[in-house]
Amino acid sequence: MSSRERLRGELAAAVSGAGTALRAADALCHACVQLLDVDGAAISLVHEGATRGTFGSSNALSRRLDAYQFTFGEGPCLDAVQQGRPVLADDLTAAAERRWPAFTASAVDAGVRAVFALPVVVATESIGALDLFRHRSGPLPGETMSGGLQAADLAALPLLDLIAQLGVRAEAGIVEGAEEDPWSELESLERVEIYQATGFLIAQLGPTATSPSEALVRLRARAFSTGQTAAEVAQEVLEHRLRIDPDGSWHHDGDHPAHRNADGDEPGRGGDS
């Protein structure tokens, strides 16, 4: 097994064994400190509306620093979420570092010299960030960066659980933090039919009222509650057999003649359907 695969496995184990979403976020931060060359880690959720804040951390200092960004309304994590790309500050004491004066002053007081904020992206939307802290200045080694990016990928799962609990009306039967294999669950959400079905749900819920990540949260919650895979739910949606109402309730309807054959695949071809 390569060291990269071992790292993937160890990061995934942190998320899968945790029990609840909050514990999974904490465990992932602890794993970052143990496995990567960083001194602290924190995960924050920056979702539309009021649901934002620090949800996981490796220790009290990381939690406090991460939370400062919300107090001050500035910081690498917020920038990373807004820009949808990593925001790296490898020397907070440098004279040229003027991006977040209040946050930087607090971080330097606490002995932190470098912060690396990696966005957590779901359905192309940044829903939060993983912040990595170091007591010494200097860029992150390539391997640490690559491990950090993987951890930021995994952080999507506890954050999706949190959004389901906090933001959206909780659908029945969401199994919190129950991912048996977090990597394969993430991969199961990365399919063309899921992306297109997300678009269907946005149309049904109203594009001004729903974000892509919220639509994905609902699709995933539906899969949990019915015991289907996300791809199966997506297929029902695309075939106009299942739709969601703006109030969040799901309906089966096979009787929408206008929608028949709308997927463009001629019936009869392709054999098994």
């Binding site: 297109q196 269907f200 997927d263």
Partner: protein, 265 residues
């Protein structure tokens, strides 16, 4: 090479190079490239898969949007010629899938969808493999050397298009650019779904609408897709633009009503 084909090949490369130089949208560019592959080479279908920072393959573009063909690319996360090609960085050829026990799941899916041969060439950036270009035929048989060379040349164009500001093979920026391209693809798929549902049409037709709208308004495809999924550009505007101009992405702007700036306000 016949003179006619030579002309087509030249036109394809010139058009790709022009689009690249003008900063065309990556989803648009790579979709065009796969369509050119299917047209120029002796294959029925072509598609590009791209590896992310985890080494997982994603469908980036395909010559046809039919679900049955997309499935062939998606299944290759587990096994298949594109997967092997991506892992090894070398071309993979399976001229007759019926006798091949190499990828049982993939071969079953391919046969179910009427494909009997498959070829994959790597998308390379110096020592690093970014993804693979997969070519599917409905008849058994090898690609001749000329077609293979052409396929590799088209795959190379795709690699250049993906990593335009290369600052070194191992730099995180290569991964970031790949991720940006993959995100662009996702948002385009979401917009296709939204438009298909709102306009009671197929995702394929919705894609053409989106392309022609972006073309006419001289916007990047993924930018327009982002407006649509975030509610900044009403689906109605894109769909109605279509009823005026049924299909095809003619160039030249109509200007006037329905511009994104007006619609966003």
């Amino acid at each position: 090479m016949t003179q006619e084909r030579e002309g087509e090949v030249t036109r394809s490369f010139v058009s790709l190079a022009t689009a690249l130089a003008l900063g065309a949208d990556i989803v648009e560019l790579l979709t065009r490239l796969t369509t050119d592959c299917a047209h120029l080479l002796d294959v029925a279908s072509a598609g590009l898969v791209l590896g992310d920072q985890r080494g997982v393959l994603h469908v980036m573009a395909a010559s046809s949007d039919h679900a049955r063909e997309l499935e062939l690319f998606q299944i290759q996360r587990l096994e298949g010629p594109c997967q092997d090609c991506y892992r090894s960085g070398a071309p993979v050829s399976a001229p007759d899938l019926s006798g091949s026990g190499r990828w049982p799941r993939f071969a079953r899916a391919a046969e179910r969808h009427g494909f009997s041969s498959v070829h994959a060439v790597p998308m390379r950036l110096r020592t690093r493999t970014l993804g693979a270009l997969g070519l599917f035929g409905t008849r058994p048989g090898r690609l001749n050397a000329e077609d293979l060379n052409l396929a590799q040349a088209l795959a190379d164009v795709a690699s250049v298009a993906l990593v335009q500001h290369d600052t070194g093979v191992d730099s995180p920026s290569v991964s970031l650019q790949l991720q940006t391209a993959l995100n662009a693809r996702v948002v385009v798929e979401q917009a296709k779904g939204l438009l298909a549902y709102s306009g009671r049409t197929s995702p394929q037709a919705a894609f053409q609408l989106l392309r022609s709208y972006a073309g006419e308004h001289q916007q990047q495809l993924s930018t327009v897709a982002g407006w649509v999924v975030h509610g900044d550009l009403p689906a109605r505007v894109v769909l109605e633009h279509a009823s005026a101009r049924p299909e095809r992405d003619d160039e030249g702007g109509s200007g006037g009503e329905g511009g994104p700036a007006a619609a966003r306000g």
